[in-house]
């Protein structure tokens, strides 16, 4: 099991920093998902680790060894590219075999190695094809096979499911964790799809403008995002964000939604009067029968049935939009006025000016509570 450490890594293009003083340490055998919007520097970071892009400053340590000055062929990493980057003039077999050829394996070893990994990825029947004769899914598997075949201790996967169809993406999302776990490799997996990130990562590093905005388990990131922008990246439908100015009284801190007080946990009276943003996950809101204590009245605007859930768009009394998600098939109001209750412990409060989370112990402890 090989560890990977990045120390104070920086890289800029045309004077604009793309990776900015980034430090990250990944345990041996861990799968770390690098998540972030496009342009966040994910691909550049992978290229820095692979050695095809040189850092302006900082260090890269693989298994404790400083490889910053090493050429890419000496680092012992495998990489699958988002655009597959197959060698167009070679057959799928030769594509996959290239790492073995580079390490001067015998003809029999090469054949056995390629066959084994091709069988695993179900492409053994197209090995003689040229890349242009392969479907996108087969290209993607060929690229993956090429990264895996040399059994590199470090595996870099640059959004490998980006260019494949939805069905295959779903299948691979199920298959990949098993495949990667069996290899025992340390994996960095880049993606822009939060579902993929949550499904594959032991930990997720959210990259934002060349820095790691948050590093944690998928649960931590989902339930206790450090900032509004991270909260917005995870979850479908996206989190409800309402501008509020909390009030404090001896009972606790309250924010007003539809003129009704909503208790906020995990922060003290100092937030009273501050301009804040209230974050409510759509699934933490549920419809209730009537105007009971703690209920929030809303106007139903529209309903969107998704496959496994139904999303309702409602308006609060202040005409602010609120998305409410419930499992498909459960009854809910389709028009008029309805009442909802909010899981107050899942509500998050962010500072409106900085976007940073205020307090925030509750969700973190909630995540730990769920894991236990």
């Amino acid at each position: 099991m090989t560890t990977l450490e990045l120390k104070n890594l920086s890289r800029s293009y045309n004077g604009k920093p793309v990776i900015d003083d980034l430090t990250l340490s990944i345990a041996g055998g861990e799968t770390l998902v690098l998540f972030g919007p496009s342009g966040a520097g994910k691909s550049v970071l992978l290229r820095l680790i692979a050695g095809v892009v040189e850092p302006d400053k900082g260090q890269i340590l693989i298994g404790g060894r400083d490889v910053t000055a090493d050429e890419p062929d000496q680092r012992g990493v495998g990489m699958a590219f988002q655009n597959f980057a197959l060698f167009p003039h070679m057959s799928a077999f030769d594509n996959i075999a290239s790492p073995l050829v580079a390490h001067r394996k015998t003809r029999d070893q090469i054949r056995a190695g390629v066959q084994a990994v091709a069988k695993l990825l179900k492409i053994d029947h197209v090995l003689s094809h040229a890349p242009k004769a392969l479907s996108n899914g087969q290209k993607q598997r060929t690229a993956l096979a090429r990264a895996l075949v040399g059994q590199p201790p470090i595996l870099l996967l640059d959004d490998p499911l980006r260019n494949v169809d939805a069905k295959l993406r779903f299948e691979m999302r199920l298959e990949l964790p098993r495949l990667l776990a069996n290899r025992g490799a340390t994996v960095i997996y880049v993606t822009q799809d939060y579902k993929e990130a949550m499904a594959l990562g032991d930990r997720i590093a959210v990259l934002h403008e060349g820095c790691i905005a948050q590093l944690g388990t998928p649960e931590e990131i989902y339930l206790a995002p450090k900032s509004v922008s991270i909260a917005r990246l995870f979850g479908d439908p996206t989190i409800n964000l309402l501008d509020v100015t909390p009030k404090a009284d001896p009972l606790g801190v309250f924010a007003e939604v539809s003129d009704r007080p909503l208790r906020i946990f995990g922060c003290d009276a100092s937030v009273a009067g501050r301009e804040c943003v209230l974050g409510l996950r759509p699934e933490s809101i549920r419809f209730i029968g009537g105007d009971v204590k703690g209920a929030i009245p809303v106007e139903i605007e529209a309903e969107t049935p998704l496959n496994e859930k139904t999303v309702t768009l409602a308006l609060t009394r202040g005409k602010r939009e609120l998305l409410i998600s419930r499992p498909a098939g459960t009854p809910g109001p389709v028009s008029g006025t309805a009442h909802v209750a909010v899981d107050e412990r899942a509500a998050m409060l962010f500072d409106r000016a900085t976007g940073m989370r205020i307090g925030g112990e509750t969700a973190a402890s909630l995540a730990k509570g769920e894991a236990a």
């Binding site: 980057a85 290239s98 390490h103 040399g150």
Partner: protein, 285 residues
């Protein structure tokens, strides 16, 4: 094409015919002239019908030209050999130097790289006559005038910029990720250049080489000034047919046919490589 009306098709046909006639007629006429004697060529009015003769070709190949004024020795076959030698060697040298340079310019943005590339291109802008006078003096001083090496060196002015700029574009079209993938697989940069960049830019290199060959083959002024009779290519050698006893039109025509034959054959042969697609579908899309 199917939506085209009859008139459009007719007009299109006429336009195409005119273009083809415009470009092909001189070649066709020269081809006919090469099978005629000076008398039939010069008769008025000219006619498409004549008694074909192979005398022009035989005299070119044997090197003996019989005229009214007597026998004249011509060096045409030697000139043809010179043309082949000069063009092949020039293109070979230009490929050996130009392809790695093109790769460097395409992949590595070093200080002044654009300036150097542009300077090389500017060799194509300079009028050859401007360069020739000082060059003749220098070549005489260092003993390179009237040598094959000297000529091949000067021909780099024609071939090198052409190959450099065309091949550079082809290298730039190759996704760097493909090369990165090969490096990461564990290959050295030189193996990557040889096994990935060269084969993928192959059609482009072939096209550039062919073009450079044609330009080198057609060059006239460098060889005229820098070489004497025994080193001259066909373009200059054809001047020998302008003799004191008259211009040998038949021989000139035959010499032209013989001298465009190799480039034509090469172009036809290389055509299928030239039209071959560059990126063979490895990258998405």
């Amino acid at each position: 094409m199917e939506h085209m009306s009859l008139t459009e098709r007719i007009l299109r046909g006429i336009a195409l015919t005119l273009v083809v006639l415009f470009f092909m007629f001189p070649l066709f006429w020269i081809f006919l002239m090469s099978f005629q004697t000076n008398e039939t060529i010069l008769r008025i009015p000219p006619s498409l019908f004549f008694e074909p003769t192979l005398i022009n070709y035989t005299s070119l190949i044997t090197g003996e030209l019989q005229t009214q004024a007597g026998s004249l020795k011509i060096e045409f076959m030697k000139n043809l050999g010179n043309s082949v030698l000069l063009s092949v060697c020039s293109v070979a040298v230009a490929l050996v130097l130009g392809v790695p340079a093109a790769y460097a310019f395409a992949r590595h943005k070093f200080r002044g790289s654009e300036d150097i590339a542009f300077t090389l291109l500017s060799f194509r802008f300079a009028p050859p006559l401007l360069v020739l006078l000082p060059l003749t003096i220098y070549f005489r001083q260092i003993g390179l005038d009237n040598t094959y090496i000297g000529l091949i060196w000067v021909y780099q002015l024609i071939c090198l910029p052409l190959i450099l700029w065309i091949v550079r574009g082809y290298f730039e079209d190759i996704s760097p990720d493909i090369e990165y993938a090969y490096r990461i697989a564990g290959h050295s940069w030189f193996a990557t250049f040889r096994k990935i960049a060269l084969p993928l830019a192959g059609p482009g290199i072939a096209a550039a080489g062919l073009l450079a060959f044609i330009f080198a083959w057609n060059n006239f002024v460098f060889a005229l000034v820098l070489a004497s009779a025994d080193k001259q290519p066909v373009t200059v050698g054809a001047l020998a047919f302008v003799t004191a006893s008259g211009i040998q039109y038949g021989q000139i025509a035959a010499a032209i046919v013989l001298s465009i034959a190799p480039t034509l054959a090469l172009a036809l042969y290389a055509q299928r490589y030239l039209v071959e697609g560059l990126s063979l579908g490895a990258v998405k899309g």
